[in-house]
């Protein structure tokens, strides 16, 4: 294993019991036609990237549950021989959110989507650190989970917040001096585990700890 240090340039987190409100969609996505097609994960990702003032081009995106709402709609249509919405089908892939980001922001650089169960945000951070190490550029590292679908309460055992997202912009640090390991004490109670590692990093940033050790 190799340890690298990253500088956290900006960070933001957001979560809601049922639905995240006021994601500033009209400003971020002026085209109504495009706005209507966006998934929940896409809206959260766009909001977080804006709050992080991300102006670079390389993105690493993570999600454990992906586009659950779209997948559920699609499954329902398949099982019931109903009409399958082209939009739902198109929107059901894991990399939907960063793809919309690229489309809307005319971003044409590399985008990686990682899905690692409850370690998703940690692996997303590791991948982002690797990208930063190789490219020497700023990276947007973002993880989102939106699982507010009908009857979710019957299976939800993992979170008190059905919509949540977390993002940091980072760059590789010149040295390890003063870099801190990720501290669990900055976790947010009730948040799904797949986001907790990155939540901790944001918590550290908010407490002025901006140089973090990542073990690759």
């Amino acid at each position: 294993m190799k340890k690298v240090a990253i500088n956290i340039i900006n960070a933001h987190k957001i979560y809601a019991k049922t639905k995240l409100e006021d994601l500033d969609e009209k400003r971020l996505v002026p085209s109504m036609m495009v706005r209507r097609r966006l998934t929940r994960n896409s809206k959260v990702m766009l909001y977080l990237s804006d709050r992080c003032n991300f102006s670079g081009t390389k993105i690493v995106y993570g999600t454990c549950y992906s586009e659950l709402q779209e997948a559920a709609k699609m499954a329902d249509a398949v099982i019931n021989n109903g009409l399958l919405s082209p939009t739902s089908f198109q929107n059901s892939v894991y990399n939907t959110a960063p793809s919309y980001y690229s489309l809307i922001n005319k971003n044409k650089d590399e985008v990686i989507t990682v899905s690692s169960g409850m370690k998703t945000s940690l692996d997303t951070l590791k991948t982002a650190a690797l990208q930063a190490l190789v490219s020497k550029e700023q990276i947007l590292c973002v993880a989102v989970e939106c699982i507010n679908i009908p009857n979710i309460e019957e299976v939800n055992r993992c979170t008190s917040y059905l919509e949540a997202g977390v993002a940091v912009t980072l760059e590789i640090a010149d040295d390890m001096i003063g870099a801190k390991e990720i501290e669990d004490s900055y976790r947010v109670d009730g948040i799904i585990d797949s986001l907790q590692d990155l939540m901790s990093v944001v918590g550290m940033y908010e407490n002025s700890i901006k140089k973090i050790v990542v073990e690759l």
């Binding site: 190799k2 990399n95 985008v111 690692s116 991948t127 190490l133 190789v134 993992c158």
Partner: protein, 366 residues
């Protein structure tokens, strides 16, 4: 861009293992089957849709590669998985709550999609660095580039890159209902093409710095779509990624011996890709498609198609493109006969959902 060597590779496709698949391609004996009356390239021995069955199949395949590694090498070997299959616990959750008329019991303790990589790494005593990439059709191709980054950054000496795609009714039915599936065969670049045919496959490629006749020179991956599902008809997005890959490797189109196209057999993507090939390789290029032999293996296609293509070159030939009788281009036609070839520089392209596009270049030296 620093290259890495391709030290070993294994696949399991609908046509069998690597040797069987290559032989069936060479002898024109590949077979297609059906799932729920939909054309589909299925494994001969069914891998059921549960985690243990999938894990066992991966373990069997990867053990062929790992057994050749020394204990020291294993400790510096990471494992990356590229797949687009939906998490099985996600499917269970949907089954349990999305269909109001049909409740099923739900076990929230099921493991997630990355479990394959982590458990395989532990089981084989590998380095412990794992990553599961899910960028639709480009998943395992992107994993190959990430593997290259890991090795060239000095983090590990070797990486096993796994491509995984198993039959999933949700995905198959989804493509079918969208009328994206051909009723017969995928006919890439043919005027009468009428859609793709999906397939299941697993594959593994070991990359590292040790000497080898094969190498992954590098490539370029980006996210740029005309729409959320596809590239534009002009092929601009495909041209961009191909040209950037060539630039980064300081190559010109003339340096490329042959090209393995993405070539799904779909109306729009084939048109875009053919336009891109025509624009970049103005003087012509030998190009072909692997999907008519094994189906579109989505997230696995990056690893599996490259491995199968390398297997064919090791067998002394570039495979022809099945079912292309009349090219959509007046100037560019995919290979209609197997062509003798034993070495060279080969470009492998993937253009996927969400505008995730990637172009890789591999080389075989004599």
């Amino acid at each position: 861009m620093a290259s890495v060597n391709i030290l070993d590779y294994e696949i399991l496709t609908s046509q069998g293992d690597l040797k069987e698949s290559v032989n069936k391609i060479k002898d024109d004996k590949t077979k297609i089957s059906f799932r729920k009356n939909i054309p589909f390239y299925s494994f001969e021995e069914k891998i059921t849709q549960n985690q243990k069955s999938i894990y066992d199949a991966l373990k069997k395949l990867i053990s062929k590669i790992v057994l050749k590694l020394s204990d020291d090498s294993k400790k510096s070997t990471a494992l990356l998985v590229g797949t687009s299959i939906i998490d099985w616990n996600l499917v269970d959750a949907i089954n349990s709550c999305a269909y109001e008329y049909k409740k099923t019991s739900y076990n929230s303790h099921k493991t997630s999609i990355d479990t394959y990589a982590k458990n395989l790494s532990d089981e084989f005593g590998l380095n412990g660095f794992t990553m599961t990439i899910n960028t639709a059709c480009t998943s395992s191709a992107n994993a190959l580039l990430e593997a290259s980054n890991l090795i060239n950054s000095g983090i590990v000496d070797n990486v096993i890159v796994v491509g995984l795609e198993i039959y999933l009714p949700l995905m198959s039915d989804g493509f079918y209902k969208m009328e994206l599936i051909s009723n017969t065969h995928a006919k890439p670049f043919d005027k009468n093409r009428d859609g793709l045919v999906l397939g299941e496959a697993i594959g593994a490629i070991l990359v590292g710095k040790s000497d080898s006749k094969w190498s992954l020179l590098g490539g370029f991956s980006n996210c740029n779509s005309a729409t959320i599902t596809s590239v534009g008809a002009s092929g601009d997005e495909c041209v961009e990624v191909i040209e950037e890959a060539l630039d980064r490797l300081k190559l010109t189109p003339k340096d490329i011996t042959a090209l393995k196209a993405h070539a799904t057999g779909s109306i729009s993507n084939d048109e875009a890709e053919m336009n891109a090939i025509s624009r970049v390789f103005k003087n012509g290029i030998d190009f072909t498609a692997m999907k008519p032999y094994i189906g579109h293996t989505i997230g696995a296609s990056g690893v599996v198609e490259i491995a199968l293509f390398m297997g064919c070159i090791d067998g002394g030939f570039i495979p022809k493109t099945l079912f292309c009788d009349e090219s959509i281009s007046k100037t560019h036609m995919p290979l209609t006969k197997h062509k003798e070839c034993k070495e060279g520089l080969f470009m492998c392209n993937y253009f996927g959902f969400g505008g995730n596009n990637i172009s890789l270049v591999i080389e075989k030296k004599s």
